[in-house]
Amino acid sequence: MVIIMPENEDKTPKMDPEATQTGAKPEEMHLDDARRVKVLSPGMLVFKRFIRNKLAVIGFGILLVMFIFSFLGPLFSPYTQTEVFKGVGTMSKDYAGATYNTELRYTAVDGLQFGSAERAQFLLALGKNLESFSYGDNTYYFTNEDEGVYRIMQLETVAEVMLGIFRPLAGDTVAEDLKAAYQTAVDNKQNSFELNGITYRMTKNKKATQISIEHDVALAMLPVYDAYNQSDAQVISSYDFKLASTRAIAKEKDSFSVGNQTYSIKYNEGQATIYTSAGKEFAQVSDIIVNPLDQSLFLPVSFKSAVREAIYNDEPKFSYVDETNETEHYSIVRVNTTYNIKKETSTELIRVFEKPSGKHLLGLDNNGMDVMTRLMYGGRVSLLVGFVVIFFELFIGIIVGGISGYFGGWVDTALMRFVDLVNSIPFYPMVLIFGSVMDTLEVKPMARIFLLMVILGILGWTGVARIVRGQILSLREQDFMIATEATGLRTSRRIMKHLVPNVMPLLIVYASSGLGGVIIAEATLGFLGLGVKYPLASWGSIINVASDAYVMTNFWFMWIPAGMLILLTVLGFNFVGDGLRDAYDPKMKR
């Protein structure tokens, strides 16, 4: 603090009337005693005023924290800036599809055909709830053996009855016993009868009734057969086997025989497994089709069985032990009538957008890198860019402004027009162009930072030049500068001791406020993707990830911390700048 006696401007003792009054006590200090006055240099005064400004001190504290965070923080961070964190994760991949079979499958008797035309007629008749249909010269008859199993037979007319008159169509005569059997069937209102082990069927054809013998043609069925052993597929798809097995299943019999082979059946949740007499798994019957998504893949019956079981039990997940004895996990997702079976495979995954945890205080970013660590390294870049750019601006600005102000005249005019020229370069278009040029030239990330500094500096020094010039012009006309000439001081001393110290305060204020601006500019460029490039970080480029609305709304830790750091740093610089401005203002007494 400076104590100057206000009533006592002139410090010569003999002219001081109060000195004698206060000098009554001998030990008491003389009012204008030199010891009473603590002398402070202007620099100290500025410092004192600065630390009295609470806001400025807060700003300074913020900056101090930022510097420690950015420049010392990385030393304590266990991770590096480009370290990618990976983790084991399960990835489900579509593997197979399953659906309830809704399409009839046909099995024709060996040596006979049941073509698509016949099938169409059959389906038509089935839809009309008829029992017979005809195609071409042939007439077919079908019976419902089981749910979704139809036995289709071809009728061969042997006789036609019209008004009680039998007309033979095959052979010459109609046997008497046939007539009698027919009459019995008509009386009993049956539409078929048996005679001598042959089944005769009666069908209406206009007004005549036809008597036909029937023979099997095909089976139309919904259940699907899967062979455990591919070599058995031939047997399984044969008409005889299918007919026998379906009949057995329809009646829920435990065994059936085809030819000289006997098979046993076990039922299990909508599917039936057929075993050979030796007890070996032979075939599986079910109404669910399971197909691999990749056609080249072969699905073993046991897998299909597992899928079916899961579907019947409504289980979303199941496990299956494959041939190599490895347990694999599958999930089932139902989409309308089909079931998608997804194989869950575990792979090494980059831990993208991981939420903050104890190990990663601010989580992981879109590249699986630690956000906290990147903020520290990014702070280095942002603060360094700020400082280097400001020093660059000051360097050019002081030289140009100093020359302009000190020499004046046409040098001043020329330089100031040049400043106007540089000032009229539009900032953002220019920086955008530079950014894309650097992209095209594939400039290395580190070189990019330095080029960025140079560009920002080149576009920003004009303000400093104007300030320095104006200040020097006004100082040059001050009496104390004329006095330096009158006392014959060297030019270098006049500049270094008189001009520079009087320009410096203004520049310090400009620099501390300007730093905030540069950091914002750098962040803006980083956000636009023109500044510091991946894998190096800067605060702006960290926020850049949040330009995706999904990231912004879901991962707050990607952009809020970086945004806060920028905000606080700029605020800090502005507070310090304002504080310095006030501290340098001579009108501020304290």
């Binding site: 401007e9 030199a34 202007p42 009496d479 000439e485 009158a486 006392t487 001393r493 009087n502």
Partner: protein, 332 residues
Amino acid sequence: MEQQFLESGALPDPVLEVNNLKQYFPIKAGLLQHVVGYVKAVDGVSFKIKRGKTMGLVGESGCGKTTIGKTILRLNEKTSGDVFFYGFDIFAISRKQMRTIRPKMQIIFQDPYSSLSPRLPVSEIIGEAVKEHKIVPDNEYDNHIDRIMKACGLEPYHKDRYPHEFSGGQRQRICIARALALNPSFVVCDEPVSALDVSIQAQIINLLKDLQDEFGLTYLFISHDLSVVEHISDDVGVMYLGNLVEHGVKKSIFQNPLHPYTQALLSAAPIPDPTLKMNRIILEGSIPSPANPPSGCKFHTRCRQCMEICKTVAPETKEIEPNHMVSCHLYD
């Protein structure tokens, strides 16, 4: 050359001789800053100052007093005319040589607030040029500064203080100390007291007089305050619009003013006697622009005794009485 100045005993009289000095400042205008005219701040001034004497220079604001003060120290580059300092033409030597002469000719400025660099302590302000020119040997430097400060009424503990800690009067003492620390023989005092209140003015004027006796100084004392000039001067010059209209010994000028302007100026000076009836000469209008001065005698536009000849012919300077020069057609 420097050596010759240091041996002041062998130096010729007068200390300063100014011959027909002119100082014009160009007026620039337009996009290309071409010269459209000149401000004729000093327009042909001649006078001499003898060693140990004080010449007072009076005149109203804007008449070119300060410009003369700066030009004779070569703080401005003259337009024409000569300035001889101990017989040396100061405009004939290079700026580098000029720097070696500068300690011998110093200036005290009008405004004690702007004439001290706010970022240097007092000891530095007073002493930096002393060191620069090696006025005293290094081992005597501190003593020299202390002696000068004491002579100027400053205490040694003021050394470490900064200008903002001083009052106006003290600042002016620092300015005086800065000038005197270089052991000058000639000092231009450019209205050194006009920014100070009257009590401090007296202290400073008396200080300057004491220092003149102590160091054998020669002063050019510029002021618009006639009473101050009367108090301190041996010779007096009266300026009007860049011309020295009348100059001579103080007694002669104050008792027998010849030029109508001097008469008007003296009649305007207040006399501390309420019973005395003042016979004031009121000048009409204000001082014309030095960029476009009237033809003939520059004072004719405001002169009560204006004649036809005054409007066309500029008057010559004539010695009417011994050591009393005047430029006026009244005395043709």
